[in-house]
């Protein structure tokens, strides 16, 4: 591990990569603050830039910096405007916004920054410990287990992301997998489902799809409902200091939530949102009675808990991405797509084949967190001025960057029309509460899943690998349980509520 760390330090501390982290964090904070633009949209917009850099370490460092910056920026708009840019920072606004209204915006931002820093840093330490261990286990996996693992990952994402409606999430995942089969596959050199169109020969563009699924619907929602783009003057932010007593009271919260948030982040599909809400709930429950009354009215513990947890969870979500090559969230799925575009395949072999990428990303997490604390925090009063930009100027720019992202990636104007078409479909799907992250994750994993499935079928001359390999069978059973259990438990709960007797 020491050797790896040294390689990582060497790579991450090059001038280019340091600039990437700083630039990424600043851009992320800047755009993440805008209401309605979450980390997924921002990373999708930044991908063409990252890909054109060419060096995978630098690209991933830039994107990871953008990711932390966006989360931090989202917290800022939650605190200052009560307008969370991302679901993961909704819980931050519960206590952050009341603090800002009491004139303690500066203090709230400092607490958020310190909590984010600690959550992210402790998360990075845990990642450093767990990722290599998990990688070693994952090296024993064969294509059959990989296929099964992807099924488990997708089922878990559907089960968690479905907001109680697993069927919809599964359908979206399947749609993503179906879309991934369009074009020429890696194993079979024949075009499939292209309907004779040359533009579909290489399949749908991943950046186009990411933009259409996230950035475009968000921008359209800002147009449809002007109230979403709450606007302010950036607030009067002064007095960023916190007292020693305050630091002492939030320290245990930060410690607990860093660990809890990290492990929730590791689970596929759970991610920062669940981690932040759960962190908030747990801390409220274990607080003393007097402190409990403060929650929701500007409690510093109530602010520190979700902030720590969501940052630790973001770091945790890198574990399945870097060790198994399976993204646990929409954002890490986009990162996976970017890595594949750069000819890097994340997975257990990443640590062996490209250790400099693996370790540089981990080291850049420390640097990124540090930069957010020492560089971004003092700049926040100035960065927050972006909140004063009128929406009549902001929205055309967001749409333009969405278009540019899709265009630069493919250099093809047809791609822009596909973007608009898919964007409309995605908006309609969001109207009906269909989750879109599973679709994108299914799309990105689709190719790999089919390849692993095909390889296992060839090795075992049929589907017998499912029952002949105990680990594959076990994983597929877990996947089935993940899909069936939530629906079953909900049905049972409803039956109980209605007073219907249950048959055993």
């Amino acid at each position: 591990m020491l050797e790896g760390l040294l390689i990582g330090l060497q790579t991450a501390f090059s001038v280019q990569n340091l600039l990437m982290v700083i630039g990424g964090c600043l851009i992320g904070t800047f755009i993440g603050m805008l209401p309605g633009l979450g980390p997924m949209s921002i990373i999708a917009i930044m991908i063409p830039v990252a890909i054109s850099i060419g060096d995978p370490s630098a690209a991933l460092i830039l994107l990871a910096g953008v990711y932390y910056g966006a989360i931090f920026g989202g917290s800022t708009s939650s605190i200052l405007l009560n307008a969370p840019g991302v679901a993961g920072t909704v819980a931050t606004s519960f206590d952050g916004y009341p603090m800002a209204r009491q004139g303690k915006a500066g203090k709230a931002l400092t607490i958020a920054a310190i909590a984010s820093f600690c959550g992210g840093t402790i998360g990075a330490v845990l990642l450093m410990v767990f990722a290599p261990a998990l990688s070693t286990v994952a090296l024993l996996f064969h294509s059959a287990e990989y296929f099964a693992l992807m099924v488990v990952g997708l089922s878990a994402i559907a089960a968690f992301a479905g907001t109680g409606q697993v069927g919809k999430a599964i359908l979206m995942t399947l749609l993503g997998l179906i879309m991934a089969t369009v074009g020429e596959g890696a194993l079979f050199n024949m075009p499939r489902f292209t309907m004779g169109l040359m533009d579909l020969q290489s399949g749908f563009g991943f950046v186009t799809l990411a933009m259409a699924m996230f950035a475009l619907p968000e921008a359209l929602f800002l147009v449809l409902n002007p109230a979403r783009s709450a606007q302010g003057d950036g607030g009067d932010i002064k007095d960023l200091r916190i007292t020693r007593a305050e630091a002492k009271s939030i320290a245990p919260v930060i410690g607990r939530q860093s660990i809890q948030g990290f492990f929730i982040g590791v689970l596929p599909g759970a991610g920062a949102t669940i981690a932040s809400f759960l962190g908030y709930a747990v801390e409220r429950n274990i607080a003393t009675e007097d402190e409990q009354k403060e929650f929701g009215k500007g409690s510093i513990k109530g602010l520190a808990a979700p902030e720590t947890a969501n940052n630790a969870a973001c770091t945790g979500s890198f574990v399945p991405l870097l060790t198994l090559g399976i993204p646990g969230s929409g954002t890490t799925a986009i990162l996976l797509g970017a890595l594949i575009a750069l000819n890097v395949t994340p997975g257990p072999r990443l640590m062996l084949d490209d250790p400099q990428i693996f370790w540089a990303v981990i080291i850049s997490m420390y640097i990124g967190n540090l930069i957010l604390l020492i560089l971004n925090l003092p700049l926040i009063p100035y960065i927050a001025k972006i909140l004063a930009v009128p929406r009549t100027f902001l929205i055309p720019f967001i749409l333009f960057f969405t278009l540019m992202g899709a265009y630069i990636g493919q250099n093809n104007a047809t791609e822009l029309l596909i973007l608009v078409g898919f964007g409309i479909c995605a908006t309609v799907l969001r109207f009906a509460d269909y989750p879109l992250a599973p679709l994108l994750i299914g799309f990105i994993l689709g190719g790999m899943m089919e390849n692993n499935f095909s390889r296992s079928m060839q090795l075992y001359d049929g589907p017998s690998f499912i029952w002949e390999r105990p680990m594959t069978l076990g994983l597929l059973v877990i996947a089935a349980l993940l899909v069936v259990l939530p629906s079953y438990r909900k049905r049972r709960a409803r039956a109980r509520q209605e007073g219907v007797a249950e048959g055993d």
């Binding site: 063409p48 409606q165 359908l171 449809l224 409902n225 009549t392 104007a413």
Partner: protein, 160 residues
């Protein structure tokens, strides 16, 4: 029928068309040596289409009832939102896509940014033109010169 079930119905059609292509049209053109393989290009799509159809039917049948949750935008009150502006912006995006090559990046992008602001109700013309021209110039310079990706700057007729 609620919107989510209408969507499931549409997706059922998509899955059936996809399934038809996978089950009945793909295998005919398969080379004889590939036919002895345990896996065909159509195998995975066949499985996906079957699962897709099944899931659509589950949603349509209402077996899994969710609470009537209102999403970010309540589509039942679509008239209360700025649907006209959104539609015009989408149309503008499509026009931009078609105009980008023939008209060139500088003109089409400035036009897009100005018209986008106009659609959203902005009327400070000079400010709009200055901001659009500046932003277009900066983005073009960054993409073309820094990233090295070619963007035709001027209209076709001017040899851009």
């Amino acid at each position: 029928m609620a919107l989510d079930r209408w969507i499931a119905l549409v997706l059922l059609g998509v899955c059936m068309a996809y399934g038809y292509a996978a089950w009945f049209t793909m295998d005919d053109s398969l080379a004889p040596f590939m036919q002895r393989n345990p896996i065909w290009p159509s195998t995975f799509p066949k499985v996906l289409s079957a699962l897709g159809i099944l899931t659509c039917l589950v949603i349509l049948s209402g077996v899994e009832k969710g609470e009537a949750k209102i999403g970010d935008i309540d589509y039942r009150r679509l008239g209360d939102y700025k649907i006209g502006q959104a539609g015009l912006l989408l149309a503008l995006m499509a026009v931009y896509a078609l105009a980008l090559r023939p008209v060139g990046f500088l003109v089409s992008t400035s036009g897009f940014l100005i018209l986008g602001s106009v659609i959203l109700g902005e009327r400070r013309w000079i400010l709009m033109i200055v901001i659009a021209a500046l932003a277009t110039g900066i983005v073009w310079y960054l993409v073309q010169q820094v990233l090295g990706i070619y963007l035709r700057p001027l209209p076709w007729a001017l040899g851009g």
